[in-house]
């Protein structure tokens, strides 16, 4: 069995960028990729059980970290239990709802017509995007985006700092509604300084077309003339 000192030492080595090959049973291609471990903290050691807390990049396999730490230790290790305490903006707070709470709230809604509790449990989808950089649109640009168009620079009213080309961004109305997810084609400073060009390419439209008025023209073909 590995000593407590060895366990704590090896845990430190797994902080930072690590190479990881997804486990045999995984939903992604099994090739080595780099994932960043932001923190890896041993909370408790009891006989051959180790309880630890980790904060890591999306797509890190914790089961594999456990296995790999065991390999480095030489004694082998497996994951016994996992509790996810955060994913993106969602943490274990009052918004975290059990199926029982949801079921009770839905009874009040469907049997008594009281929507209040369900309305509180269900959060606006915009809550998912708390940490995604945002670009805010003119009303006149919204419907074109809803139809799948890319965002041109003149459609931008404001945007968040530190966006780099190819970053995942969210396109928002000035009312705070998400219109689409997109990939930035320019950095923040370029979007601010340029007066034309594509600022972001839409990847996933979330708002229904027709929510905002259609302000764009279809290009006329020869047949439409006259």
């Amino acid at each position: 069995m590995a000593s407590e000192e060895a366990i704590r030492r090896i845990f430190k080595e797994f902080v930072g960028p690590i190479y990881q090959k997804p486990p045999v049973r995984s939903s992604v291609k099994r090739e080595v990729r780099i994932r960043t471990i932001y923190s890896l903290e041993v909370l408790e050691i009891s006989q051959n059980h180790v309880l630890f807390h980790t904060s890591c990049q999306g797509g890190t396999y914790i089961r594999k970290i456990c296995y790999d730490i065991g390999e480095v230790l030489g004694c082998g290790a497996h994951m016994r239990e996992l509790r996810r305490t955060r994913t993106g903006p969602f943490v274990e707070d009052r918004s975290l709802t059990t199926l029982q709470t949801l079921s009770d709230a839905c009874s009040k809604w469907l049997k008594e017509g009281n929507e209040e509790e369900v309305r509180h449990i269900v959060r606006p989808m915009e809550d998912c995007l708390k940490f995604i950089p945002k670009i805010y649109l003119r009303d006149s640009a919204v419907d074109a985006i809803c139809h799948g168009a890319s965002l041109a620079v003149p459609g931008v009213v404001s945007l968040e700092s530190d966006i780099k080309a190819n970053d995942e961004v969210a396109l928002f109305t000035q009312k705070g509604e998400v219109v689409a997810l997109a990939k930035a084609a320019m950095a923040t400073d370029d979007i601010l300084n340029f007066d034309h060009g594509i600022a972001a390419k839409s990847e996933r439209v979330l708002m229904s077309p027709g929510t905002y008025p259609r302000m764009w023209q279809t290009r006329k073909t020869e047949n439409d003339k006259g």
Binding site: V118, R123, P124, D139, L159, T173
Partner: protein, 76 residues
């Protein structure tokens, strides 16, 4: 080392000044109940055991809705 996404602070920078027309759309908080559900998410405490897929099926039945999905985690 790389900064976790939740620790990056961004400032809002203005490019143009334009007001939004209150006639169209609405703030997420003011959606009708129907649209609140349609464009809503639940931070659900999934019990260990059943798969996410199974839990989604239960949520659909509990809420009497046709469409629901899950995100964030595929497996551990």
């Amino acid at each position: 080392m790389a900064t976790p996404p939740w620790e990056i602070t961004r400032s809002l920078l203005a490019k143009a000044s334009e007001e939004t027309d209150p006639k169209y759309g609405c703030t997420p908080e003011n959606r009708s109940f129907r649209n609140h559900l349609r464009y809503g998410v639940i931070n659900l405490d999934k019990p260990p055991g059943p798969t996410s897929h199974e839990v989604v099926a239960w949520v659909k039945r509990i809420m009497n809705i046709e469409r629901a999905g899950h995100g964030g985690t595929l497996e551990i």
